[in-house]
């Protein structure tokens, strides 16, 4: 939620005492939210790479040339990352790593069509990711691999808000620190099937064939899945099943277009799905295209990590 620009506050006399009306209630006035002027929308980019060119290599749907973007957050204020936007000449895989917290934001590389939107349809993170800059700059590394098989020019920006607490009056700065100190307990996470190789390559499904993918919440945190996205070279049908309980999330197969969206229009469940630690969800797919099908499903989630 963004900060309210205006708030109603009790009126006070010059001594700071609340003024009460005849009915015994404080008399209220409209005032600028003192925090708001110190918070601004912000587009984050790699300061050295407005665009990144991935050399042609591999082939279509083969993890190819690797590039790296370093998103630097200077020491002016915290950064609360909310969405991903980008444009490219072809598809690519991406991985995020936060060196400050030694945290990977996905278990395997993620297909760009699943989590990279544009200004008109930003891809919102399931949970804003907070960078507490402390007294030094922070960094987010992003590793990109071409999937197009041709030279691939990529522009990638992260959008969020800067909290300029260092230039705020001390009491406001303190408020901001208190408010955002809790932000690091949960964080955004992308869940990709365990069958995906470490470089992001997926095993294709043969025409009209079947395959099974495993989404697993590892032992370090519970995972709350909010939305589903997929990139594929053809249509498929699927079922989702909890391994531990053998409970199906649908009585019969569902077409991919009825259950998976993309970065611009993700599929939302009616309610979020909690995948507890070390639990698995199995996705059984059947190709409907009749041709070799490269399927890149992604579950956008947030991780609930207990900090003692």
């Amino acid at each position: 939620m963004s900060f309210a620009s205006f708030v109603r506050v009790p009126k006070r006399d010059p001594s700071g005492n609340v003024i009460f009306g005849a009915d015994g209630r404080p008399i209220e006035g409209l005032a600028v939210n003192p925090i708001k002027p110190h918070v601004r929308g912000y587009w984050l980019a790699d300061p050295n790479n407005a665009t990144l060119v991935l050399a042609a290599s591999g082939g279509a749907n083969q993890a190819g040339a690797v590039g790296e973007l370093n998103f630097l957050i200077d020491y002016q204020g915290h950064f609360d990352w909310a969405s991903i936007v980008g444009v490219s000449t072809g598809a690519f895989l991406l991985e995020f790593f936060d060196p400050g917290s030694q945290r990977r934001l996905q278990n395997r590389p993620v297909h760009s069509n699943c989590i990279v939107g544009v200004g008109a349809r930003q891809f919102r993170l399931p949970e804003p990711y907070f960078f507490n800059i402390g007294d030094a700059q922070r960094q987010l590394k992003c590793y990109l691999r071409d999937l197009s098989g041709a030279q691939n020019t990529v522009r990638l920006n992260l959008i969020g808000r800067r909290i300029y607490h260092k230039e705020a009056p001390p009491d406001i700065a303190l408020d901001l620190e208190r408010m955002f100190g809790y932000g690091s307990r949960t964080y955004a996470y992308f869940l990709v099937p365990n069958e995906t190789a470490n470089d992001g390559t997926v095993t294709s499904v043969v025409g009209n064939g079947t395959a099974s993918f495993t989404f697993e919440s590892d032992a370090s945190a519970d995972t709350e899945v909010q939305k589903l996205m997929v990139a594929s070279t053809g249509a498929f049908s699927f079922t989702l099943r909890e391994r531990a309980t053998n409970r199906l999330l649908m009585p019969n197969t569902v077409h991919s277009q009825n259950g998976w969206g993309n970065a611009e229009f993700p599929f939302y469940w009616a309610d979020t799905y909690l995948l507890e630690r070390q639990k698995q969800v199995l996705m059984d797919v059947t190709d409907l295209s009749g041709e070799t099908n490269f399927i890149y499903p992604v579950m956008a989630a947030r991780r609930l990590q207990m900090i003692p």
Binding site: L30, L44, D74, A120, I172, R178, E264
Partner: protein, 354 residues
């Protein structure tokens, strides 16, 4: 006093009917009105706990406001006269959305003002003419992943103004004045422009409900939508640069919530707060990563609040290698704060404080 505080829907005549209402025991809102949202049809009477029809709802209806005449035919490059969009005097009108149809792909520009509010410090709704596709839906849209979404489906993607606009038909003239400019300089352009919202038929309502409507309208009088574009017309030469500025007025605080652009080619933008030199992005960002359009606007996750008379500088660089005409529009709302109510926030009153 009792009449003022008693909610209009708490009418004993309706109580018997509510007993047969399916789901009447489930949770329903007790509010007859929630700003910016549809009027609740069913409400729970806080006095009885019964669910009943919201009496307010009976006198609030959807409404489209059109130009007169409609359609309008503009000659090549023509700037029209001021054209009235008139509503009758039966009730107030609250504008939420805007739609358009343009025969030519170039579209047209729009200027709007409410003559009924001249002298009341909110006569116009934009600082200069803006491209219609940045404040209204109707041009279709193409997205990198999803592809083309045609004009025929544009009504399903209404451009919701950053703030609804209350038109008072009693103290005002009951009209919006609109002026259009055909951006096709070689052909005529047949256009349509429609404002969509809801009518508050307070003059036909029982006095208690009419009073409630007037009360709601007074609450909305301090805020209204406003569209800001660059102070000057922007046309970049091939691979050229320009740094137009945008100055917010000195009459109100401005909250920027949506960003839209129409251009003839790609370009990069870097937005800088002129006074503080605070940059909203370290590096220039391509326009489609910083702005949306009238059908899918760029939604600011953190709405930006600017003090009166603030100025933004837009550093623009063409990427198209051709002359690039750029229409940037910031969807904002103006908030007029009564100086008498502007209280100094003292320690202990900050909303962020535990």
């Amino acid at each position: 006093m009792a009449d003022r505080t008693r909610l209009p829907y708490a009418d004993p005549a309706n109580w018997a009917r509510t007993k047969a209402t399916p789901g009447a025991l489930r949770d329903f809102t007790t509010h007859d009105y929630i700003p910016g949202q549809p009027i609740p049809t069913w409400v729970k009477d806080p006095e009885t706990g019964l669910v009943t029809v919201n009496e307010l709802k009976k006198y609030v209806k959807p409404f489209w406001l059109t130009t007169d005449p409609d359609p309008i035919t503009l000659a090549a490059g023509e700037l029209s006269d001021w054209i009235p969009m008139v509503i009758d005097g039966k009730g107030h009108f609250e504008i939420f959305d805007a739609f358009f149809v343009s025969q030519r792909a170039e579209g047209f520009t729009v200027e709007l003002f409410d003559p009924g509010n001249q002298g009341r410090e909110r006569p116009i709704l934009m600082n200069r003419e803006v491209h219609v596709a940045t404040i209204a839906s109707g041009g279709g849209v193409t997205l990198p992943l999803t592809g083309a979404l045609p004009v025929a489906s544009s009504p399903g993607r209404p451009f919701r103004w950053p703030q609804s606009f209350f038109m008072n038909v009693v103290s005002g003239t009951g009209a919006i004045m609109a002026r259009f400019r055909n951006l096709n300089t070689t052909q005529t352009n047949q256009i349509r422009f429609v404002l969509s919202g809801r009518r508050w038929y307070h003059l036909q309502a029982p006095w208690k409900i009419a009073n409630r409507m007037e009360e709601i309208f007074r609450e909305g009088a301090r805020t209204f939508p406003y569209f800001f574009t660059t102070d000057q017309f922007v046309s970049l030469t091939a691979l050229g640069t320009s740094s137009p500025v945008l100055r917010f007025g000195d009459d109100a605080f401005v909250e920027w919530s949506k960003g839209m652009v129409v251009s003839t080619g790609n370009f990069t933008v870097r937005i800088i707060e002129t006074a503080t030199q605070k940059r909203l992005m370290e590096l220039p960002v391509r326009q489609d990563l910083a702005f949306g359009n009238g059908e899918f606007p760029f939604l600011m996750w953190e709405e930006a609040l600017f003090e009166p008379n603030y100025q933004l500088t837009f550093e623009l660089t063409d990427l198209s290698n051709a002359t690039n005409v750029i229409w940037i529009t910031l969807g904002c709302r103006k908030i007029k704060v009564d100086p008498k109510e502007l209280e100094t926030i003292r320690p202990g009153t900050s909303p962020g404080r535990p």
